[in-house]
């Protein structure tokens, strides 16, 4: 049997001189959410890899910024770059994440980036 051929260079060829995530710019289409929207993080099942933290799942947040377009890490970790989507920077209230967060710091927040398919309107 002949040796299988693996294309290990397609990412290098795409990203050189452009940068990653810049090399995926314009591939995600129209974003579903805009700055200021309230969204909830869906608790999707993940096989082996995810970059959506357990502590934000099910929590509501406000979209602070549309940051860039990229395949989600869950796909990219398996070298699947077909489904490019928008990434949103979300701001969560600490009190929404941790029930026992002290009341006297009501303004404290966490900001983190989540890809579009994890989000639903809240």
């Amino acid at each position: 049997m002949s040796k299988p051929h693996y294309d290990r260079n397609h990412h290098v060829e795409k990203a050189t001189d452009i940068g990653d995530p810049q090399c995926f710019k314009g591939e995600a289409g129209k974003p579903r959410f805009k700055v200021g929207d309230r969204v909830r993080v869906r608790n999707l099942p993940d096989i082996f890899y995810t970059r959506t933290q357990g502590y934000v799942r099910g929590a509501e947040a406000v979209v602070a910024e549309l940051v860039y377009e990229s395949p989600p890490a869950e796909d990219e970790s398996w070298d699947n770059t077909e489904n490019v989507e928008w990434f949103y920077s979300l701001v969560f209230k600490m009190a929404d994440l941790w029930p026992d967060y002290p009341d006297y710091f009501p303004n404290d927040t966490v900001e983190t980036e989540i890809p579009e398919h994890y989000l639903e309107a809240a």
């Binding site: 290098v12 990203a15 050189t16 001189d17 452009i18 940068g19 990653d20 995530p21 810049q22 090399c23 970059r51 959506t52 933290q53 502590y55 940051v67 860039y68 990229s70 890490a73 990434f87 920077s89 701001v91 600490m94 994440l97 941790w98 006297y104 710091f105 303004n107 404290d108 927040t109 966490v110 900001e111 983190t112 980036e113 989540i114 890809p115």
Partner: protein, 235 residues
């Protein structure tokens, strides 16, 4: 308890521990070299490149932003472009020319205000803006810091000697995807009329991560005493 002369808010000691991931990295690296995926020389070249990096360019970026409102606007809107002015090219830096898988080319500069204080963490691993800030400090990579800063940010900041009033919003920036972050702190009082060089000197690495704020007389990170682990990790 601690032998350093401590003031009211002196830093609390850290525990000296080796993480499983460091052991894992060593094992994978040795396997990769044996398998011929890369050579020992490749690894040395990479390591030497990494050792040329440090926090000086980021400190310079902050000092420039304090002095030039136009540059501040650029830094906040396009950190990658602003980095070029301090000699850091995120897109075409050695040795890969597109950043590394863990140094994606999307720098976001987080602007503090008198009512908002940012602090950076990577709860999932230890993402860090290495091209502009160098290697992350040991404590930044520990599960201890990563777990607790999103849960009890004020307590952890207090361990670094930074106590913030209640009316300031603490915003923990969890660096979980392709953006990397540095903090643009508020310019401290007592620095009126300072030159860019003078200002850059007080912007320490800890100020850029957000666990400290710049002070006119402080030009080094505060040393945190290290205590031996009670149950050290053996390997």
């Amino acid at each position: 308890m601690s032998d350093d002369k401590h003031d009211l808010h002196s830093p609390a000691p850290m525990v000296d521990e080796v993480s499983e991931f460091e052991v894992l990295e060593l094992a994978v690296r040795e396997l990769a070299i044996e398998k011929g995926l890369f050579t020992k020389e490749d690894h040395n070249r990479w390591t030497e490149y990494m050792h040329t990096l440090g926090p000086a360019p980021a400190a310079r970026l902050v000092a420039k932003a304090w002095l030039d409102p136009e540059f501040k606007k650029l830094a906040v809107n396009d950190g990658v472009k602003a980095s070029l002015d301090v000699g850091i090219d995120w897109i075409n830096s050695m040795p890969t020319n597109f950043g590394t898988p863990s140094d994606y080319c999307n720098l976001r500069v987080l602007e503090d205000t008198p009512k908002l204080k940012h602090v950076v963490v990577c709860t999932l691993c230890s993402c860090y803006p290495r091209p502009i800030l160098g290697q992350s400090p040991e404590w930044y990579r520990t599960p201890n810091y990563r777990r607790r800063i999103v849960r009890w940010p004020r307590q952890v900041l207090a361990e670094f000697g930074l106590q913030l009033p209640e009316d300031i919003e603490v915003r923990v920036e969890d660096s979980n995807q392709k953006s990397r972050f540095i903090v643009l702190p508020v310019r401290p009082e007592g620095t009126e009329g300072w030159s860019e060089d003078q200002l850059a000197e007080i912007v320490t690495r800890d100020c850029l991560i957000g666990v400290a704020v710049p002070k006119p007389s402080v030009t080094a990170n505060r040393k945190r005493p290290v205590r031996r682990a009670v149950n050290p990790y053996h390997h």
